[in-house]
Symmetry: C2
Subunit: 378 residues, 2 copies
């Protein structure tokens, strides 16, 4: 690895250094101790944390992910503008500590209801809306250097997986190749899963559950020796972490398969580079070497899909313009070419339009051909 | 069973009689043969089917489900108003026959793309929009008496399940009690699943995946000897059929657990009575003895949830009014009381507001107490 000056050491590294000799609970206890120290020494209790938001997010060329910068801010208890947020942060920290103590997990919505109580002697609630407790959790991710998942807070559960993989989870040994037509249901939190055996050359993550069912019925994962994973709709944090762990711990390439539209490109962008709101978690979430397998604008020509064109909406066009100018795409010739072609077509295609060529065209021709020829975008 | 006159024999019974000595493929072949016979005998080829839509849907008091009435319609090839629909029906029938021949499943979207081809010698597509092929599939459900799933056409995959159940599916033996924190991912089509062992007293179906994860982490299914099942959002046909099969084949009561709002009540209504658009499938989908476990308006008082009230929107109020007047609720005192209370509160609550009482309050107190006291709505 190239040597970096102190100044460019990024947040991920800070956290990773931290993590080696601590855990999430100790970090929460540390936070409490610091506040107590302030109180005992007669200072206004304060919390220090990195500033989030666009002003402190940068595209890190070396790690090729979005990263938080070095700007920090202090939050004081004796400051009318800060005190409510201060209280919210400590309240949610206490909730997370309890969750870790009793070894249970809660959803973001649960944490909101747990924090939503009236401050004794007042008519003021600690939180009134979920976005307040959500923000406190994000702050705690920055303060402790541990992800929400490590603080035992989960988001939505979604998605299925199949492949020649054996895992251990919650005391069970689970073989992803022996779960019938359904597959394993991906939990919202995959931090405690242990991989016992991973016999696969790569992972295909697809946007659509119906495509997953097609590939699964055709036993694509068996024939191609890969893992197939999908959600229906959003790429949850559980899925992103599962992809990242397979990539990091087992060196599996991750291939992304979506509709041939700007939202498909965006799904890829988030998996690869991270997102602005989660820049502080890039180290746990982003997968810089993920590839975009399709549907590309070139596929439309090669596989004769023009007759399945769906005209772009104004929203699509605006989104293309926005993504073209993202730091991480702006100098990327191949991606700029894709954006340009999409604009020229003024159209998008759905991945299921490949079904017009035959029900198993996708698993028997499209995917094997593309993968064999390494026809993907980086 | 009470004897019924010919006139009131409903569609479900017709289909069930049919099913005993036929299968979906034979019915598709029959359809083709009838059309061929018309052609050979010089008649305008025709398809006969029950009329769908509100004018031919009635609430059947005996079966307690929505049912199609007896009105039939004929669709002629030599009728300018009918010929396109006629063609679409036959095209989609041919696609379904192919799927059954090769023993593969397709999604509704796949079927659309397979049917979307230009009629030779014209510039006219057989279908231009998915709703056309979707309608043709619904027609084929009525014509053949078999569900879409039996025609090998699936919708979206969603949801997870856990419990002391062993199934066989696609050659695999799957134990729903040994699948870690994720559970089994429910496929879109559960027609071919075989239950090998079902050791459970009832099933709880919940609207929210986060609640499922709570109950699963607490091993609620083990402690209470039940099955827990959830989706995230819509109750897919796969889930409804799985619930129905567990109810029919294993006599398991089904308990529905949702937010305390009008959409939660609607989820229950659809599982129990069926829906207007799927009245022809009531026999395969509706579960007349399903119970609504919560959150009821009485729970709000009993469990002191008023401080988590969320004000109703105009849309909520309109929906309450609509549901109050449904045939199957209009004379139901207990449900009318619920609607009335909701209107008086002018508020709804989320199920996760129970978390304000403690992270496992739902699994340790709320549910065991309600189930023990049979506090549910029928």
């Amino acid at each position: 690895m190239v040597e970096k000056s102190k100044k460019t050491v990024n947040n991920t590294e800070k956290r990773e250094t931290l993590k080696e000799d601590t855990d999430a609970k100790s970090e929460l206890i540390n936070l409490g101790k610091k506040v107590l120290n302030d109180i005992y020494s007669g200072n206004s209790p304060k919390i220090e944390l990195y500033v989030r938001g666009l002003s402190n997010v940068k595209y890190d060329k070396e790690s090729k992910t979005l990263q938080l910068g070095d700007k920090t801010a202090q939050r004081f208890f004796f400051n009318v503008g800060h005190s409510k947020k201060f209280l919210q942060t400590l309240e949610v920290a206490a909730i997370c500590k309890t969750l870790l103590d009793v070894n249970k997990h809660a959803s973001l919505r649960d944490v909101f209801y747990m924090a939503k109580r009236t401050i004794p002697g007042t008519k003021i609630n600690i939180v009134d809306e979920q976005k307040e407790s959500d923000k406190a959790i994000e702050d705690l991710e920055i303060i402790t250097g541990f992800s929400r998942e490590n603080l035992n807070v989960n988001a939505n559960k979604m998605g299925s997986v199949a492949g020649k993989v054996i895992i251990e989870d919650s005391g069970d040994t689970i073989d992803w190749s022996k779960l019938g037509s359904g597959g394993w249901s991906i939990p919202s939190n995959v931090e405690n899963i242990k991989f016992k055996k991973v016999d696969a050359k790569y992972v295909i993550y697809m946007e659509k559950a119906a495509v997953w069912e097609r590939l699964h019925e055709d036993r694509f994962w068996e024939k191609q020796n890969c893992i197939i994973m999908s959600s229906q709709g959003q790429t949850t944090r559980g899925i992103r972490r599962l992809l990242q762990r397979l990539n990091n711990e087992h060196n599996l390439p991750i291939l992304v398969l979506t509709d041939g539209d700007i939202y498909g490109f965006y799904i890829y962008s988030v998996i690869k580079f991270g997102s602005i709101s989660l820049a502080h978690m890039a180290g746990e979430m982003a997968i810089p070497d993920v590839k975009f397998l399709g549907v590309t604008m070139d596929d439309i020509i090669k596989y004769d899909l023009k007759r399945h064109f769906i005209k772009l909406t104004d929203q699509d066009r605006a989104r293309i313009k926005q993504m073209q100018n993202y730091d991480w795409f702006v100098k990327h010739k191949e991606w700029q070419r894709q954006f340009k072609m999409m604009k020229e077509f003024d159209a998008k295609v759905e991945i299921q339009s490949l079904s017009s060529k035959g029900i198993s065209f996708i698993s028997e021709k499209y995917l094997p051909e593309k993968i064999k020829n390494k026809e993907w975008l980086d």
